[in-house]
């Protein structure tokens, strides 16, 4: 049977126009909520248009009308069926104190792996510079050119130079650090899409640089300076970058899917909110680390005793560990007791 197309279009057009106008209103004003009557009408119009599409597809095969109806049905379908896990109200405090540490703990194995790769890199860099001091210039990137010289000379210069830089200079330095470190963390996550190879290389190389700098300063007898310089910002910055690697390894794991029976699409869908949470947490940590590095780490003895800087850095590290290990644990226990098994997403 072939439908009387002209009569059909003439009859149905008012409903299609009404649906189009409702969709335009919804799409223009994202915050607009429909009243119950409006919702019922909207659903009726969607059903009617979808039925019209089915009719045109099977009984008329007229491409322009079908394309028009497909466009309408696609838009309405997106609005009506989008009910997946919608947050009612975002609470920054709840997110920070519960969601972020819980997410970190859920994927802590990826963090340990990320830390292990960094440490292997650090050991490699440390051995390389211990065996051959010339390796330093080959390994260090251009942006660390200030570390290529003798550490003792740098320490003497920094301690001699009592003129503190201007607030403006420190601000731009801080901004530069934030941008660079957040960029590195995002790359560590994004490179997970290279089956984790890019993430591993990035973590390893970061570890190498860290190892080179540490061994170089320790060998020159400048351990106190090194700790006083690195710990205040490094105790947050380094874990943040390792967490970036954690996110990258999570992505790689979802991509590879070893030992997982779910499809690639389901695996990616499952980790998407956790990746977003982690990367937002990392950005926050790196903003703090950037401020500390520019406004605190650059002051040395005699202006600021190393013991104060080391104590500050260690306190930050302990607080960070406590935050990631303990925060939101109680709520986690409660939810695991009350939760029931959920059907798998298909």
């Amino acid at each position: 049977m072939i439908i009387d197309l002209k009569k059909f279009v003439a009859n149905e057009r008012p409903y299609w126009t009404e649906l189009e106008s409702t969709l335009n209103q919804i799409e223009t004003n994202d915050r607009r909520t429909l009243a119950l009557d409006e919702l019922r009408r909207f659903h009726y119009l969607y059903d009617r248009t979808a039925a019209g599409l089915a009719k045109v597809s099977s009984l008329a095969a007229e491409p322009e009308t079908r394309r028009y109806l497909e466009s309408l049905v696609a838009r309405a379908y997106g609005e009506i069926h989008e009910t997946r896990d919608r947050q009612h109200r975002f609470s920054p405090l709840h997110w920070f104190l519960q969601t972020l540490p819980q997410t970190f703990r859920r994927h802590v194995r990826a963090f340990w792996l990320s830390l292990a790769i960094t440490m292997i890199g650090a050991l490699f860099g440390g051995f390389a510079v211990a065996l051959d001091p010339e390796a330093k210039s080959a390994v260090m990137p251009e942006m660390f050119a200030s570390h290529l010289g003798d550490p003792s000379e740098r320490v003497a210069r920094e301690e001699r130079d009592k003129d503190s830089p201007s607030a403006g200079h420190m601000s731009s330095f801080s901004a530069q650090l934030m941008v660079n470190n957040i960029g590195v963390s995002i790359k560590a996550m994004a490179f997970g899409m290279t089956w984790g190879i890019g993430t591993i290389i990035l973590l390893f190389y970061n570890g190498v640089i860290l190892g080179v700098v540490c061994v170089d300063y320790v060998a020159a007898g400048q351990t106190a300076f090194l700790l006083g310089w690195l710990l205040p910002h490094g105790s947050i910055e380094l874990p943040a970058i390792i967490m970036g690697g954690q996110a990258g390894l999570m992505l790689a794991s979802a991509l590879i899917g070893w030992g997982q029976r779910s499809t690639l699409r389901v695996r990616f869908r499952a980790i998407a909110p956790d990746l977003t949470t982690l990367i937002a947490g990392i950005a926050l940590m790196l903003v703090w680390a950037g401020l500390v590095e520019a406004f605190f780490s650059q002051y040395h003895e005699p202006t600021l005793p190393y013991v104060v800087k080391i104590a500050f850095g260690l306190t930050e590290l302990v607080l960070l560990c406590l935050f990631l290990a303990r925060c939101g644990k109680k709520a986690e226990r409660v939810s695991s007791k009350t939760s029931t098994p959920q059907p798998a997403d298909t």
Partner: protein
Amino acid sequence: MSKTSTLLIRTPEGIVFSQLLAGPMSRFLAWLIDFCIVMCVVIAVGTLLTVLDLVAQGFAQAIGMLLQFALMIGYGIYFEWFKRGQTIGKRVLRLRVVDVQGLRMKPSQVVIRNLLRFVDMLPVFYLVGGIACVVSRRSQRLGDLAANTVVVRIPRITEPDLDQLASGKFNSLRSHPHLEARLRQRVTVQEAALALQALVRRDALDPQARVALFDDIAKHFQAKVQFPAEAMEGITDEQYVRNVVDTLYRSGRSK
């Protein structure tokens, strides 16, 4: 896994609809527009900040650096989050990012597909993303794969030209209702649609091709149902096809 140019969606009501997937070139052009917009804003803000730099040296540089970084990352996230998957470039080129199931994107999907640009844009000009787009079944770059999103084309909707159904014109086939009924019975929906499309697009055809096309179509329908000579007398193949289409698509109408 073969490449497809459409995203097929089956709704819970059992209705199947398709959306056209955007190709790498149109997506690249949309990105180019967005890039130009971001650059214009960066330059404009940079110019304003030079004034601030005279008063507070260093602060202006810090603000500029942070703003540029935030714009580079935040531009796509803001527009795709709040403007239903459309940046300005995508709006101009009639593209939209949607969930791979045709639903609206969740915030985490928006964030992931935009952050993964860092790998898609490697080594230059989105080469990795472009290759992924060409290779992947649904024209997805790596960010789209990870976020479960696709970029669809929003078609320009034109009013179906149903006046081609020869309304008000004499139809010699109507004198033979039993043969008309047989024709309706034997002709498939696809054959009817083909004839309708030939009529709709006839003015775009080369004159010779037009004659040849309607000759073929007419022969095809004549093979299905043979109308008497008086019904066919004095009418061209094109008129015959028009009469067939009128018969098929106006089945319920009185003479």
